[in-house]
């Protein structure tokens, strides 16, 4: 629907002013969108510049948005001299492992919920129940999970985070994949079943290749969520051996003397994989973000 301005019907006889006004009204959308764009991106760009500036430039007034001499010293400092390399590796391990676990467990459940007719309308009830577990505020389960992990002596281990993130991503995987399976015609897998394939065989050989794009999008969402997660990581890990990148960065922020360059360098590195992933799945973004809740 075109919402082009009609305000320019107002007559204004003063030549150039009127031309300007017509131009502004015609291009109202751009005039309004451009500040939004600057507002969205400038802060992130500012952080990038801080990560590349020498300390002198960081504290300079007026603030240099452009035209400073870039340096990679803060990146070296963060990832070679300090432990951010380790945190980066921890984050990657936790994100990949928990995504893999959630995908395997969640896809199986989603397939069953989409394809088998369960008694007592369990399909619908189980699906809703699974979704509802995702709705708990994180802090509600953080307290008991901390105590449970302490009892199992899993505090400060990557395993604790992998376990928690698997459970955290699972409802999401089930809902996304259930939707993708439901959209798929049954004929193909039924043919495979007739040919003597087992259910699991039909799922792996026939169905999964067909939902591969959906599976990939789901995986990327899980990776992003695990990569970004902060509260559980903060509660469950406090040592270098298990700390993830967000907790490592946060630890630097709340210290007394803050190394702004190091912090910005680490934060910049933390957003690189996210931006790459996000670009890859623009198409699935809305569906993923509203988590299939639309279908309730």
């Amino acid at each position: 629907m075109n919402h082009k301005g009609t305000k320019n019907t107002k007559s204004n006889k003063r030549g150039s002013l009127s031309v300007l006004r017509v131009f502004v009204v015609r291009n109202l959308r751009y005039v309004l969108l451009f500040p939004a764009l600057v507002f969205a991106l400038a802060p992130v760009y500012w952080m990038l510049t801080i990560s590349l500036k020498t300390e002198v430039d960081q504290f300079a007034t007026p603030p240099p948005w452009f035209g400073f001499t870039p340096t990679l010293a803060h990146y070296y400092d963060a990832f070679v001299t300090r432990s951010f390399g380790e945190y980066l590796l921890n984050s990657a391990i936790v994100a990949v492992a928990s995504t893999a676990c959630a995908l395997v467990i969640g896809t199986l459940a989603a397939y069953a919920l989409a394809r088998f007719q369960l008694p007592w309308s369990l399909n619908r009830r189980l699906s809703l129940w699974i979704l509802s577990t995702r709705m708990f505020p994180a802090i509600v389960t953080a307290v008991p999970l901390f105590l449970m992990m302490r009892d199992f002596r899993l505090l400060n281990t990557l395993a604790s985070l992998i376990i928690v993130y698997t459970a955290f991503n699972l409802p999401f995987v089930v809902w996304m994949m259930r939707g993708f399976f439901a959209e798929l015609p049954r004929d193909l897998e039924e043919a495979a079943l007739v040919d003597g394939d087992s259910r699991l065989g039909a799922l792996v050989r026939v169905v999964l290749p067909l939902v591969a794009p959906g599976l990939a999008a789901t995986a990327v969402f899980c990776l992003i969520v695990s990569w970004n997660e902060f509260l559980f990581a903060l509660v469950l890990t406090q040592t270098d051996a298990a700390m993830t990148l967000p907790v490592g960065i946060a630890g630097r922020v709340t210290q007394f003397e803050i190394k702004w360059g190091v912090m910005s360098a680490a934060a910049t590195v933390a957003i690189v994989p996210i931006l790459v992933f996000a670009l890859a799945l623009q198409k699935y973004l809305v569906r993923g973000l509203s988590m299939g809740a639309v279908k309730g």
Partner: protein, 281 residues
């Protein structure tokens, strides 16, 4: 056979979502005393008279209502602007989405760098234009701290509202608009009687999801202000965190977390009721 497929998922959720809740109920009903563990509802009784808890609740409401209002109005405006043929729409859309993809910790870092009173980009740029920025200490000022953290939330999450509403707008068919055009309705009338009703399901969903997230907000505030200065930006999640992991009063923290859980459940139930009412018509 189906049981085998579903069992692993159920086992994971039962042990890591449901069992922790039950565990949390038991610790909320316990109190450590020198004479051993005492059972009772002491932790819940304490809630009513804890002025910190009540203040944190009030902060959470202020934060949620203010951020939700701004995000919704801005997001709707942007969605309406971009729901038409304009040049460079893809670039606009992709760029607007950047803030919401960022880890909350990075959002905190970004805005600490922007808002820092001494070398931050905002005060530095204002000074360049000759403005006096001495009183603008943003997150360090008791008055401006709440405004600052709300603005940061708006910065990060307006794109999400925009994205969902844009998808909703694009799913609306052309016919009602053509009918409205023939009837000679004004643009406002068309918006009010065609666009808004057809967009209602998307609006309710996005409000529901944002409300849930706003009520539990933790990460950015933790990085930006840690609830300070003083108690100025302490929301309920931060207060629960502090109670559990700074004061190690797990029982009381668990009790407070149930209030938060009940609150989010009630509010989401109301939204869902509205959603279903819409579907039946």
């Amino acid at each position: 056979m189906p049981a085998l497929f579903i069992a692993p998922a159920l086992a994971v959720l039962l042990s890591l979502s449901i069992y922790p809740l039950i565990y949390s109920v038991t610790i909320s009903l316990q109190k450590e005393t020198p004479g051993g563990v005492v059972w009772g509802i002491g932790n819940f009784a304490r809630l009513v008279s804890d002025s910190f808890f009540l203040t944190a609740m009030a902060h959470t409401f202020v934060y949620a209502v203010a951020a939700l209002t701004c995000e919704f109005l801005l997001g709707l405006g942007l969605a309406l602007l971009l729901n038409s043929q304009i040049r460079g729409r893809g670039i606009f859309r992709a760029s607007l989405l950047v803030p919401m993809m960022l880890p909350a910790v990075v959002v905190g870092v970004v805005w600490r760098l922007m808002l820092n009173p001494n070398f931050g980009a905002i005060n530095g740029t204002l000074k360049q234009f000759g403005l006096n920025t001495e009183s603008l200490t943003w997150t360090a000022s008791p008055k401006l701290a709440m405004v600052s953290v709300i603005a940061v939330d708006v910065w990060q999450w307006t794109p999400f509202v925009f994205l969902v509403l844009l998808a909703g707008l694009q799913a609306i068919p052309q016919e009602p608009y053509e009918a409205a055009l023939i009837d000679g309705s004004s643009r406002w009338q068309t918006f009010r009687h065609v666009t808004l009703p057809l967009l209602k399901p998307s609006i309710l969903i996005v409000l529901l999801l944002r409300t849930m997230d706003l009520l539990r907000v933790f990460d950015q505030i933790f990085i930006l202000t840690e609830g300070g200065p003083g108690f100025a930006t302490e929301t309920i999640s931060l207060y629960i965190y502090r109670t559990a992991f700074r004061f190690f009063d797990f029982g009381y923290a668990a009790a407070m977390s149930f209030v938060l859980l009940a609150l989010t459940n009630v509010i989401s139930a109301i939204y869902i009721k509205f959603l279903q009412a819409k579907e039946e018509i």
